[in-house]
Amino acid sequence: MNTLSRARRPAPRSEARGGLAARLREPTQVVFLALLALIALGWVLVALDGGQFLTMESVVGIQQRSAALGIVAIGQTLAILAGSLDLSVAYLISLTSLVAAEIMAGRDGNVLPAVAAVLGVSALVGLVNGLVITRLRVHAFIATLGVALIIKGVVDHLYDGPAGKVPESFQLLGYSRIGPIPVSAVLWAGVAVVAWFLLSRTRLGYRVYAVGGNEEVARLSGIRTGRAIVLTHVLCSVCAGIAGLLLASRLGAGAPTVGTDGGYDLESIAAVVLGGTALAGGKGGVSGTVGGVLLLAVLDTIFNQLEVNSFVKDVVRGVVIVVAVAVYARRIKGRSV
């Protein structure tokens, strides 16, 4: 499972000295320090440009921009921590946005069945992902890529464009806000808190770290590794389903390309890694991911306010991701040698 970067990861010898909690906190501190530095830099740059950076509008924008990616990335964190990864989230988001909008069909009374159906569909997809990986022993990369293709085929076959209709009441989820805090950001925070609780306060969380750290050792210690991996995939897909609901409420309809246009598959993995979670699994946490997603959103906001070409954004984003991970790798190396 951790073959993604098997040899890249030097032995964490500091484990013996620091406790589990101390070890997990470290990379997340880095990402929040980087976030603060970026906000300061953005404030200076925008001020030099003659604007004002942290207006009410931009703060709300940062939160709204990051909510959908944030929710997906939380799910992705669980999968990556268990030593797996999920490339099917983008297409699943498209699928669930369509399922939600089609079942709601503009009627308030259908909201609950639609939400239930979305959660059911996404849990099922996660179950398939997990079972293919654990029972059929297919590498997570190929398994979730295959499932992504299956969903893409079905969605593209049935839909050419936006379909269904989301009632006004459900659209409130996407746009309304309580003071400066959008409802979507509250939803994101809720998902993050649940995931944090699962990972740090329950047995499942402990098992996820163990399986991601070393699957064979976890198995020999009596952990049912397959079950932990399947569960993280179910949770990851459910998170993608929630993001699909959120995007459907923003668009007012379901769209077959909403997930891929947002690049949620690779972008969510990038956000998780930016947050200091090791791609090989077993190390990292939810708070780092929240920092990583916010970092990407603040970067976006700075570029928007400076009216920089959107292609520059892609270039800078690519550089930031690689540099951040290079810095993490250096820190780990520095400690272990």
Partner: protein, 316 residues
């Protein structure tokens, strides 16, 4: 050789199925057209094989292909005399991108998944920043000849494919191939026995970049200039390599099997088209078959061959 047998058998079955549905396929012209269509993916798969067998990933090849085609169109801009210098430049760019991927992966110790993902973003952003959002210019006839024309009845792309295939097989039989497989199998053991591990991996990335440049030259001629020409090719190439029985994580599988995997994927597309499963559902069938093929390999191989230490780990 033993490991290439399953994928070759699957390929033969698929080719036979195509021949039954379309007898024209057995004529030289029909078969050569198939080879010509398959050439870019097979070349990409060969490049991707080097990276995967050394234990890494290259996700940047798709956007590298797009970038190369867009760069060629803008620089040539219909001017035939610019063809050869631009082709040389494309190859240098491909090698350079591979060099950067390899150096960042090995020297800065960033997982290749992230390095090449970053490179994907950088390449697609940079090239459209340069052209202002959409491809501009045009390719010369001389440039397009590689993807379209041929030497008599044999398309150039088939000849290039043969050359690339022969070179790849030769490389894997040479010392370089052995050190590369050793590196992918157990990096530390390889390093301790004197393999220059970092250098082997950097060369693997450069070969992948080179393969992307060659594939871009063929695709530019065959499919023309568009912003989507390379879309999804990285996943197709990785899928092809894995279909060929090469293990993600490195150290196992042959380059011949990887290329056979790419032919199989292309034959699958052809077959699906022939049987009228075109358009979107093609993806669904493709997804099911990929999972099934890899699952079959993972479930049965350990029984057929003696498992080695670390196999359970690599197959899951």
């Amino acid at each position: 050789m033993k490991r290439t047998l399953p994928i070759l058998a699957v390929l033969m079955v698929l080719l036979a199925a195509i021949a039954i549905a379309n007898p024209h396929f057995l004529e030289p012209a029909g078969f050569l057209a198939f080879l010509k269509r398959a050439a870019p993916l097979v070349i990409l798969a060969a490049g991707q094989y080097f990276v995967i067998v050394s234990g890494e990933f290259d996700l940047s090849v798709g956007s590298l292909v797009t970038a190369e085609v867009v760069i060629a169109a803008r620089l040539i801009d219909g001017d035939g005399s610019a063809t050869w210098p631009v082709i040389a430049l494309l190859i240098v760019i491909g090698l350079l991108v591979g060099l950067v991927n390899g150096v960042v992966t090995t020297k800065l110790r960033v997982p290749s998944f992230i390095v090449t993902l970053g490179m994907l973003l950088i390449l697609s952003g940079a090239v459209f920043l340069w052209t202002g959002g959409a491809p501009r210019g045009a390719l010369s006839e001389g440039f397009r000849a590689f993807g379209r024309g041929g030497l008599g009845p044999v398309p150039w792309s088939v000849l290039i494919l043969l050359a690339v295939g022969a070179a790849a097989i030769w490389l894997m039989r040479a010392d370089f191939g052995k050190t590369l497989i050793a590196t992918g199998d157990n990096e530390r053991a390889a390093a301790l026995s004197g393999v220059r591990v970092d250098r082997a991996k950097i060369i693997a990335f450069m070969l992948s970049g080179l393969a992307a440049a060659v594939a871009a030259i063929l695709l530019g001629g065959f499919a023309g200039v568009s912003a989507q020409v390379g879309q999804g090719l990285e996943f197709s190439a990785i899928t092809a390599v894995v279909l060929g029985g090469v293990v993600l994580g490195g150290g196992r599988g042959s380059v011949l099997a990887a290329m056979a995997g790419a032919f199989t994927l292309e034959a699958l597309f052809t077959l699906l088209n022939l049987y009228g499963i075109s358009g979107a559902l093609e993806f669904t069938v493709q997804g099911v078959i990929i999972i099934a093929a890899v699952a079959a390999g993972a479930v049965h191989l350990p029984r057929m061959f003696t498992p080695r230490k670390g196999d359970a780990h690599a197959a899951s």
